[in-house]
Amino acid sequence: MNDMTPIKTTLKDWETDQEVRWCPGCGDYAILKAVQRTLPEIGADPAKTVFVSGIGCSSRFPYYVESYGFHTIHGRAPAFATGIKLANPELDVWLVTGDGDGMSIGGNHTMHILRRNVNTQILLFNNEIYGLTKGQYSPTSREGTHSPTTPLGSVDRPALPCAFALGAGARFIARAYDVSKDLSSVLKAAHAHQGAAFVEIFQNCIVYNKDVFANFTEKATADTGQLWLKDGEPMLFGKGAKGIALDMDTLSLKVVDVVDGDWQAAGVIVHNVKNRAIAHMLVEMPFGPFPMALGVIYDDPRPTYEATVLAQDAQARAGKSANLAKLLAKGQTWTVDA
């Protein structure tokens, strides 16, 4: 995000006149609404906001947001966004990508925008499938996923986007899901973070990978399946009856029972968004034995890439003039007399 004067807008101001063309019931609708609801709340200026995307269902997103938008090519949105931010750091750039776009064809660029820490919000819609190309398995599909390209079930292990992002050096990692009422607060935190903010949003592809996240997003499973992290608060779930503790023998996380709300006695740890080691453990917690870690998992800013580059450029320019005639005549020269 950038320091700019808050602008008064409403959700309606962020809607375009274009017909939204996702499948009816697609999780993308909920994400779009959450973003359009969040933008007025953070005082965003449509003229200074740019949505950049790659290719895939998720990447149609910019067409539906009344701001500047650039629908680029498959996987490369981070590189376009980097050029945009270096050319004009005043622009507030949101990147919309998917598990195929950001983790497969564009994995390299995802790594480098995070490593460089370009000040953008990166929303990776993870539906664990290729939707636009009609249902092939993706790099985040679980082992055994049956798809047109894996009729016998996929055999490769899935990538973990948040673990990848942390490994690439990201300074902000968060997770949410499409219909979550807390998605907006996660987006706000991502926007407040100065630097590359990586948000994995589980998104329900109702056509090719329906309800693949239901075991923690449904009402019946939410309490035991979701661990919502809040900085400075104990890691509790299951209506406070369970918590996450650190097993000191193995230096790994474990689930503990909390009796009568006495989480301290149970050894439940307090979430600290600057604790990178715990963040690594949280994003790798296997779902099933553990709940799904959601919310802001890690948030520890460092100087942004574009600010550092521009400061260095300014230093290099200090005291020098852009005299082209002088530059052309530089070096050892000689004169031919008339």
């Binding site: 650039f70 490369r76 050029g83 070096g331």
Partner: protein, 628 residues
């Protein structure tokens, strides 16, 4: 090989009152670790300071440090200087400086009959002879009789010269190239002072190295003056070439492109964003521009070739002049992104320093084989203007022209140079920036539709759409690679829309032909028996060959095309006035195909794909053949 320059070596090695040679070609060859490129580069500098027109041609192996003494580790540097207008690095060398047996073996075949070999006997030992696959020492077995031979122990002489400075053996031997350079400077009556200054500056932090190198330089120079070598090493004072008055410097193609891009951005009144990824031989442009921040240049070393162009397109979208640069394989990777720049109609300059292909091919050699890639090499109907520089100095004007077209027509433009242009140096009359007409970029500030709506894909008289910078209040809109409505730019797959937009993109690029100069005849007449048509770095050898042929009375002209796509509007009619058309190219006939396709002309190819530039003689022979 019969050439007009053949008097050179005879004069050089002849009697007491030789006729001054028209031009002299000297080739320095040694191990890639011997610093041959440095020697050649410095000799170039001193020659330029002496006022001789010159051209250079580096020829080095792809391996940074190939195994010492081997045939494939030979690095060479050729310089052609003389008192006529020089346009190529020359044909066969008159003088070959061979620092070891491998250098001799790989280069002597090109030396003119009667030419001079200077060889370092210190390196002609059993081990090195074996590595170079010599059964016996060629310096002693009479196999070099065809040439003049000067063989002495440069290694020992260098060691002796630098002895007072207490260097280790290895370090002391590194001064060999300076010793050789000193000898060459003496041979061609060159001033040592610029080199002494340069060495003092280069080794400012290690004065003893500066002194040792200067001592070696002086020793080589002094050696040339010794009586016993006076015969073959006759001194020649080569008269300075007559050039237009003004300030001159030497410039390589990579430097000229960099400077031209800076000038182009200034003329467009835009900051420049350069996204690049290291690749031979294009990296030099990124290196140069990284040092020019005060000219509003931002350079970005991207994670790959695709990110390099993508970031440049992103910067153009945000209102800067986006530029990217690469060589063949990297250009191939950028193809999809070029299509996006064509589709979204954003300005972009893509510099392609061509090398030999396909795939990795010949990374350090030269070729012109990316013409198809430049003109046709994208998916869909994706027209893009292409400009080709003919020489290092010409690359400056071409870079400006590429910037102009990109900004005025809202289109990506490809600028073609090649390994030869990029690395070669030539004297350059320093241009006055004020003599170039500015082409300031305009950004849309308010809605442009007839009913007060925003039409990001409305077109001006050139067919260009408006450039709309994000951040401009009230002009929010979306662009992308999907086919769009001809006015609003909204997604529109309809048959009529794709037809209209395809036609509009083609018409816009075709229309550039009306905004470029008419094709001229570089040498000769409009119409005649034969025209030799070239593009890019073949200018020098074609021009010289045509000049020689015309001097013999042959009816031949030279046409050299800068605007490879779209072609000048008069080119077809102009070429139609000749009975025969010959198209020499360092590829298998790509521009020939374009000419045949565009004008239904019977253009005949002359092709070379050895990684080396054409020699004058090769083209001259083809001219004679065509007119026989």
């Amino acid at each position: 090989m019969v050439t007009a320059l053949a008097e050179g070596p005879d004069a050089l090695t002849g009697g007491t009152t030789p006729a001054a040679p028209e031009a002299v070609v000297v080739r320095f060859a040694g191990d890639s670790g011997d610093g041959m490129q440095l020697t050649g580069g410095q000799f170039t500098l001193s020659t330029a300071l002496a006022g001789n027109d010159l051209a250079t041609f580096p020829d080095f192996p792809a391996e940074i440090r190939a195994p010492q003494g081997t045939l494939f580790g030979v690095s060479a540097f050729q310089i052609n200087f003389g008192s006529t207008e020089i346009e190529t690095a020359g044909d066969a060398p008159d003088v070959l400086v061979a620092m070891n047996p491998a250098a001799l073996k790989t280069n002597v075949g090109q030396l003119k009959a009667g030419g001079l070999i200077i060889a370092d006997t210190g390196e002609f030992n059993k081990r090195n002879l074996e590595k170079a696959k010599y059964d016996q020492n060629p310096l002693e077995d009479g196999s070099l009789e065809k040439w003049q031979l000067l063989a002495f122990d440069i290694s020992a002489l260098t060691l002796e010269a630098v002895k007072p400075f207490g260097l280790g053996n290895k370090e002391a031997l590194r001064c060999k190239n300076m010793w050789t350079l000193g000898l060459a400077l003496w041979m061609f009556d060159r001033d040592r002072k610029p080199l002494v200054d340069w060495l003092n500056a280069k080794f400012a932090k290690a004065p003893v190295l500066a002194e040792a190198n200067i001592a070696a330089l002086n020793a080589g120079h002094a050696y040339g003056e010794t009586a016993e070598l006076a015969g073959p090493l006759k001194q020649y004072h080569i008269a300075p070439v007559e050039t237009a008055p003004g300030l001159y410097r030497t410039v390589t193609g990579a430097e000229a492109v960099s400077l031209g891009l800076v000038a182009g951005a200034q003329l467009a009144e835009l900051p420049m964003f350069f996204g690049g990824y290291p690749i031979t031989p294009a990296s030099a442009i990124l290196h140069n521009l990284a040092k020019l921040k005060e000219f509003g240049v931002t350079t970005f070393q991207a994670e790959d070739e695709i990110a390099a162009i993508a970031s440049a397109i992103g910067a153009s979208y945000a209102g800067q002049l986006g530029v990217t640069s690469s060589s063949g394989p990297g250009i191939a990777l950028k193809g999809e992104a070029m299509g996006l720049a064509i589709m979204t109609e954003l300005p972009l300059v893509i510099v392609n320093s061509q090398r030999g292909g396909p795939s990795t091919g010949l990374p350090t050699k030269t070729e012109q084989s990316d013409l198809y890639q430049a003109v046709y090499g994208r998916n869909g109907d994706a027209p893009m203007p292409v400009i080709a520089a003919r020489s290092p100095a010409d690359a400056f004007d071409c870079a400006i022209e590429a910037c102009r077209i990109a900004v005025e027509y809202m289109t990506p433009v490809m600028l073609l140079t090649d390994g030869y242009i990029g690395n070669a140096a030539e004297p350059w009359k320093v241009p006055d920036p004020a003599s170039y007409k500015p082409f300031p970029a305009k950004f849309l500030e308010e809605k442009n539709g007839p009913d007060g709506e925003l039409l990001p894909f409305a077109r001006d008289e050139k067919g260009a759409r408006p450039w709309i910078k994000p951040g401009t209040p009230g002009l929010m809109h979306r662009i992308g690679g999907i086919e769009k409505n001809p006015g609003t730019g909204n997604i529109d797959y309809s048959p009529a829309s794709h037809q209209t937009m395809t036609d509009a993109r083609k018409a816009k690029v075709d229309g550039i032909a009306h905004g470029i100069p008419q094709q001229d005849v570089a040498l000769g007449t409009e119409g005649g028996k034969l025209v030799v048509v070239g593009w890019g770095s073949t200018f020098g050898p074609i021009h010289q060959a045509v000049r020689r042929a015309r001097a013999k009375g042959l009816d031949v002209s030279h046409v050299h095309v800068r605007h490879v796509w779209p072609l000048p509007t008069n080119l077809g009619d102009l070429l139609g006035q000749y009975e025969n058309i010959l198209v020499p190219e360092m590829n298998t006939g790509q521009f020939k195909t374009v000419l045949r396709d565009q004008f239904l002309l019977d253009a005949k190819p002359l092709n070379k794909t050895s990684g080396q530039p054409f020699t004058i003689a090769e083209i001259e022979a083809a001219i004679e053949g065509a007119l026989a």
